[in-house]
Symmetry: C2
Subunit: 499 residues, 2 copies
Amino acid sequence: MTTTEALSALTALEAELRAYGHALGCLNYDGETVAPRNSAPARGETMAFLSAIVHGRVTDPKTGEIIDTLLAEGDALPLKDRRRVSLLKKERDDMTLVPADEFAAYQQLMAEAMQVWHDAKLASDFAAYAPYLDKIIAYNRRFAARKDAGKPAYDVLLDGYEEGLSHETLDPFFALLRRELTPVILAVAKAPQPDTAFLEQAYPIHLQKRFTERVMQIMGIDRDDCAVGETEHPFTEGFNKHDVRITTHYHEDSVLSNLYSVVHEGGHALYELGVGDDLQGTMLSGGSSMSIHESQSRFYENLIGRSRPFCEVLLPELKSLFPQQMAGVDVEKLYRAANLSQPSLIRTEADELTYSIHVMIRYELEKAMIGGDLETRDIPGEWNRMYREYLGVDVPDDRRGCLQDSHWSFGAIGYFPSYALGSAYGVQMLQQMEKDVDVWGAVCGGSLKPITAWLGEKIHRYGQLLTPAQLVESACGGPFDPTRYVNYLKKKYGELYSL
Amino acid sequence: MTTTEALSALTALEAELRAYGHALGCLNYDGETVAPRNSAPARGETMAFLSAIVHGRVTDPKTGEIIDTLLAEGDALPLKDRRRVSLLKKERDDMTLVPADEFAAYQQLMAEAMQVWHDAKLASDFAAYAPYLDKIIAYNRRFAARKDAGKPAYDVLLDGYEEGLSHETLDPFFALLRRELTPVILAVAKAPQPDTAFLEQAYPIHLQKRFTERVMQIMGIDRDDCAVGETEHPFTEGFNKHDVRITTHYHEDSVLSNLYSVVHEGGHALYELGVGDDLQGTMLSGGSSMSIHESQSRFYENLIGRSRPFCEVLLPELKSLFPQQMAGVDVEKLYRAANLSQPSLIRTEADELTYSIHVMIRYELEKAMIGGDLETRDIPGEWNRMYREYLGVDVPDDRRGCLQDSHWSFGAIGYFPSYALGSAYGVQMLQQMEKDVDVWGAVCGGSLKPITAWLGEKIHRYGQLLTPAQLVESACGGPFDPTRYVNYLKKKYGELYSL
């Protein structure tokens, strides 16, 4: 095989994998959003079948030949092609560890687990879900052992979400957050809380839907490229830069829940929508890593979305849609309500200050689960114990406890730390951005375009061309420094609560 | 290849085709319902790619070997297996006529045509759509010529939707409808019209959605097996008996439009939901033909849905959701408004009496289009001329003229006659059903279960096991007899309008 042949075979393979990925993504999105409840088993079969074909194509000896031929070129190959090969090799190495039938069975297991989780969550029935979770944990432990038996299994999984990430970074990171933030959380809990009575009213869902449209407009998301669905657990799915989907969840009694879901998922969407045209159709067309992805979503949600200037922009929109509910609310009141901090049960609705503690609890739990130190049946008890210990809250049921997140059901163990890492990256990016862009002037003007343009330039356009570490280095103007995140939170909440 | 080997290869092939069909159906449904506008080109590529794989599998010599081996068994093979083979052979024969690349390009063309049609309809811009329609017509003419150059091309297409159907049945059928119904239509137009002022009010869409749920409940459709989406043009998609999707279109100023879309598509859904368990997963698991499918949808929509007893059941539901709009409306008023007959522009919203004339116009147009007697650019003019001649209405724009239906965009030329045929079959089925079941007692009692059970027994459970002709014969208690349809309409409208 010549280099030219290998490159054109790579392009053809990418087209195949793109088609299967698109079909699988569509089946998954459909299943999460609109499919009827009883559709899960047949969808699981179809997804298992298609995944097995992907597995077959990636592990095919011919794919190995493409990789070997192109790797032999070394630096003679342009960066883009080198990166395509290295990502394909990573995928091939991972898939080669799992026989085709085991791989397909795992896809089906996950499809079914999503449905079971959904029902179990509503019924607060961990026992119904446990057998599925147990198998997902077992698969991940097995996979990690095969991939690198010399490394702690959880480190192997972490590396899958963020190249090079391990407990060596995360243990001190979370220790820092625990040490520095716990006193602030305790002080805030004792301080007088803002008046949030205006939020405790009915905000009709059909009006909240119109609010969603306005928020997306302010964010500069073209609805012709991005759909909005509804799910139990909001998420983003991107097929290409002209087909991104975000989802949200409407609660009549919680207008901010939908708002911040849309802003968070909108941040993910802007990343996918901003990947360079030259990368479309290649393996490099998605976001770089989960942490970089979460840095974008949490950037919009918190650094921008929960800022005073953004509340200024939102206020007239809210007043026009909900005149009665918002009567007498001014910017300061909205800003303080949007930043209410208190130890709580639900991660996705947690304030910025306590958020990372929710993540830290999941990190510790997953490390124990995958390390073999925690049986599946003991997860609820351990979850509740840690919520008591670190956040001082009693978990009343598993729906609001260990069944709240969907991640484990789609096999994502080792993903949660991305949220905290991404939040920390975001603070560094903002500080860097402020040197180049009039961030708050843009927000006050009601358009996030200059902000998105900066992120587009530094991060979005690269897709997966650069590694997470390269992106952090370039967008943050220096290496990862979590003290800046901690200091940002201490300052913001110190001011909010006059500590 | 032994018979046993061939049977197990057939089962394996069915599983493959089912998975690809499921993925393609899901991509299509997603595209029609929730995908963002700019997603069409990439979806077209993916669908073309997957269709090409299906084409490859069906035209594979090994598939020919399976068919030949099993055909050689003749009647020694059980009916179910014989039918599986014969349907596979039909699909293979058809696909073999079209080279793989032409087939894939056609799939992509259709995916793009759907999007272009959608926009062109909204803008009433036939010129933008014409190049796509032109290619779709050319493909269908080419296909028909390859399949049977000795037959009129349109007959070849008709046969694809209903085995054995040709102009020899349809010319006299539509001539009968024209001859017998035109005088009634004219008489009705001169008669005093019912009072429909109560319909010309705003019926908020979020309340109409609740009404949809009640209607589906009355129809006995389990929402865990059947989802409801929203599209420009309502349709039904069935993946298997636990995953059926119907769509509707909400118009704030037309509560009956949504109602009868839901009842119509609900009829399609009940068919798919009622296919026998023993046929699931095989090629026989869908509905038998388009006419049989439409016989079910039009049965529920008109024979049941527009009956006086059904209006009795709906009235309290409507009054409870729309107390102001429905003030002073009694059953007779609702019944007469639901059966308002007047020559109109839109097929899907036409009354029972004029409906078949809309279909007849499409039949004549398609015959000319495919027969080579009508250029694509002349379609709007010819459409408008026929609406003037046969229904006495002036078509103000193509949005309400030849761009109103989606069918041509998904390649369905020869499909429209199914609606009229199905409507006629339905009347025969109802007359037969009334011998066995207290149809109107059941409707008055607010449950369609006994009706659906009868149709389930006679039609639904057979899926594609029996031919359309066999089903008509068995469910109608005799051969097709369109005079019964004509007499039913004359009687119903004679009474309604005191002719």
